[in-house]
Symmetry: C2
Subunit: 520 residues, 2 copies
């Protein structure tokens, strides 16, 4: 394009080409709310200029080629339902969003090898429905809210709560459209006719998959995902801890049972505020405008089923193995002062209708029930953003991040709502900053409070595992080893693969060369 062409002219020219390529009805230019940050404060805040809804890989290729020709960036999004991190909104307002929602086919379910091949528009609900409708015996893994994309969640390093809850770690094989429209398949998909694409994760040569996660180097159009066989027994459990002072001791008892697999899934540990928010609003507990006081937390903690901290987790497997591990866990966690362990138990191969949303999510059944959490401050318009960093499963680390997040939030009058997702050797502490989106001051303060936690956490050695759109640059800057070697390396790769800088500029702080000095 002529360098003097204005951005608006370029965009208008591109719109016409996009309409010709994918059909005018699939180029949306109004009513784009569903492709914005769902919890945005009022005002000019990351809004698409138009949304492109391709149906096929060929249409994705065409879109990227047009974007290169017209010099108009596109922000790729699978479903755009990572609501606490900005949804499907682009970092550069007024640009295209490439939404993959219409590419929603479950292409294959391999019952023997317990894997599936899906497109990026497939939501957890869609995959679940497909499995049940086709009579599959397999279970899947889901995050707390089932409306998101299976692929999108995995690419963002999202987490689930089954034994295959490390969703990115459990994927196998990708098809990627590169910024220039070329198609790359990773792993054994590098062969024209592989018999092993979805079961062996590498090829012979470099393993590429990781670079297409949390990046702007390609559009993932297919991915292999793990499923798992229905267990003989499914035993979801609860651990409640009444005494805040035992929080560190609890984590130190938990760690070895995660590492040795006694607890095979990814537990979630919530504090009193977070646990209470799953069941109802704040007002019955406390109506002050300051942060919820200690004595109210103790009142919540004293309610049956609650605690200062509560952990949900689950066992899966043969009955004698589950029985052994139930007893082992009950003995270990039950020995912690103020701790109590309870279990339910179900026939995994003939599962009854589960009503408890926590039981559902740990059985890989999608749900939207936990969206309730965002309504803590009242009304239907609650929002949340996540401050989410990774650390060892340890009392020392857990109490350090708790004290940091609680202190910074409480001094701004915000409640400290924490959900800790526990993996085999690490845990992700999410401070779930909840607010009423109709309260602009509270909304803006929530974003500011979340940003304020980043640097103190980094000083303690804890990096974010994921970031809201609004502070991707700040998070990237905190990866500061060797003069931000990771960002500089990402920029080299970005310039190599996307010289025109058309794909998702600014994603995770990776800007193309021309926008690097003067972002947006």
């Amino acid at each position: 394009m002529d360098a003097t062409t204005t951005r608006v002219d370029r965009f208008d020219g591109a719109i016409a080409a996009m309409e010709a390529a994918i059909g005018a009805e699939h180029v949306l230019t109004r009513d784009l709310e569903d492709h914005c940050d769902p919890f945005a404060p009022e005002g000019d805040w990351y809004r698409p200029g138009a949304v492109l809804m391709p149906k096929s890989v060929e249409e994705v290729q065409a879109i990227l080629r047009i974007a290169n020709e017209h010099d108009t960036p596109v922000w790729a999004s699978s479903q755009g339902r990572n609501k606490g991190y900005g949804g499907g909104a682009p970092r550069v307002s007024g640009t295209f969003v490439l939404s993959l929602r219409r590419m929603n086919r479950v292409l294959e379910v391999d019952e023997e090898n317990c894997v599936a091949l899906v497109e990026p528009g497939v939501r957890f609900f869609d995959l679940y429905d497909h499995l049940r409708q086709t009579g599959s015996k397999l279970w899947m893994s889901v995050p707390d809210l089932g409306g998101g994309s299976v692929i999108g969640n995995s690419l963002e390093h999202g987490l689930g709560y089954t034994p295959i809850g490390d969703h990115f770690g459990q994927h196998c094989g990708m098809e990627v459209v590169l910024p220039d429209g070329e198609i790359l398949r990773t792993g054994m998909g590098g062969m024209a006719n592989p018999h092993n694409w979805l079961i062996y994760p590498h090829s012979c040569g470099p393993s590429w998959d990781g670079i297409f996660s949390q990046s702007n180097f390609g559009v993932v159009t297919k991915m292999g995902v793990s499923l798992f066989p229905a267990p003989e027994v499914y035993a979801p459990g609860w651990f409640t801890l009444g005494d805040e002072a035992q929080f560190g001791a609890f984590l130190d008892v938990l760690r070895p049972m995660m590492i040795d697999g006694t607890i095979p899934n990814q537990p979630m540990i919530t504090n009193a505020v977070c646990a209470a928010s799953a069941f109802g609003e704040r007002k019955p507990w406390y109506d002050g405008t300051d942060a919820i006081p200690e004595e109210v937390l103790d009142r919540i903690a004293a309610t049956p089923g609650f605690g200062r901290w509560v952990m949900r987790f689950a066992l899966y497997g043969d009955a004698p193995v589950v029985a052994h591990n139930r007893a082992k866990i009950t003995a270990a966690l039950g020995a912690i002062p103020s701790g109590a362990v309870t279990f339910d138990q179900f026939d995994g191969r003939d599962l009854p209708e589960l009503t408890n949303p926590h039981h559902r999510v740990q059985a890989g059944i999608p749900s939207m029930a936990l969206d309730q959490m965002t309504r803590w401050y009242g009304g239907e318009e609650g929002g949340h953003i996540g401050f989410s960093c990774a650390m060892p499963i340890s009392g020392k680390d857990g109490t350090a991040i708790r004290d940091l997040a609680r202190g910074l939030l409480n001094e701004r009058g915000l409640d400290y709502s924490a959900a800790i997702i526990v993996g085999k050797r690490s845990m992700v502490h999410v401070a779930l900053v909840v607010f009423d989106t109709k309260n602009e001051a509270q909304t803006r303060d929530a974003y500011a409070a979340t940003k304020a936690m980043l640097e103190p956490a980094a000083k303690l050695g804890y990096g974010e595992y994921r970031s809201h759109l609004d502070f991707m640059d700040e998070v990237a800057a905190l990866y500061d080893f060797n003069n931000n070697a990771q960002r500089r390396f990402a920029e080299r790769i970005k310039d190599c693969l996307d010289p025109n800088g058309i794909l998702s500029p600014g994603k995770q702080g990776i800007w193309p060369a021309r926008l690097r000095q003067d972002p947006a």
Copy 2:
């Protein structure tokens, strides 16, 4: 450099600079046999011009900078003990080998989180000795031969036989010196002072680690590796199968027990030739120059402890869990006609001295005992190369690759020796082509026979998971989806990161631009 400078002049100039940078005594120019393909046929076959032995990251940086200045490639190698794939030899004869053997420190063992940070010269033996000498209670994972580099094995997607036997999948965090001498740390190492580098595998942004495996994009100078707690019970088991016709049925019974974790480690299945070769030479069984006949295989199979196929595997964990899984496995595999299951059992926390090398390797104790296998054709100078492809754990796939490899080897008069390493959802079938290195005709025929299997296997849909130096180009060519998209993508990244093409040219078929048309 002046473009008219000859390669020899450049090399001589570089030698002087290298000597100045790392000390003349660490630039080896003679007696380089230990850095060549250990099983090479006679003649001009992948030989270094000199070997560089740095002691520190700074020296690695200096070497790469000199290599760029002098336009002299260096072939990086951790220990160079991947003996069946070419050892530490470079693809371009006469160039530098960068051997990391002197960088051999165990930098950290984290007993709580069960991880270690090591340098690339650390051998499995070294890490094991370190753990025992420091009183660590942790177990590690090892491949069959313990003389190799922990990092090198992991980077080549090497496999071990414990529950953490997927060595690359079980690493966490890398330090890499890029071709231009810059240092990149992956994952949480992207922060200057991380508290989570070795326990959480990603950062916030793209995950880079995979691109430094089986590649020539950087020199890995540190890596986090997983360890695991000593189990209460360690129960190594054997399954022997007398009837070749039941081989497929066996794999189909095995698959669900791998996927659901009943068998938690990575079993190895060997055929009669391979199993016999671990115990002694071929001559007592058969002295013909043709492939070993069926009736001799049956005679081997009838020997106590042997079979047409034999699988070693192991259970680890609490006594009641191991007891349950022992019974379950015995029932399932024991029901296969001609199948028999046996177990040994040890106190994992007070392990006796294990004498059986198979028991040792599955307990993560390094050994060289299985080097015996290469002596099948007699003498101390046996060699082997691996034809190694990945496929589902299934009777259909297992019999297809068996028939292909057996047919192609037998028609050349070579025995079919097979070792199948089984993972959670895939298995790697290694046709271990064994030969007497003093028999040049047999040696050359072994290399030719291995190459001859590549294309027929790819036609069936099975790609190599790893490749000998001598046929990296052929293997890369078989990854032919979209006009070899993987290789073309690797070349783009190569040109971006290593524009002078100085690091390990030709590794996995990835050549720098100037060597792409006319390799070597």
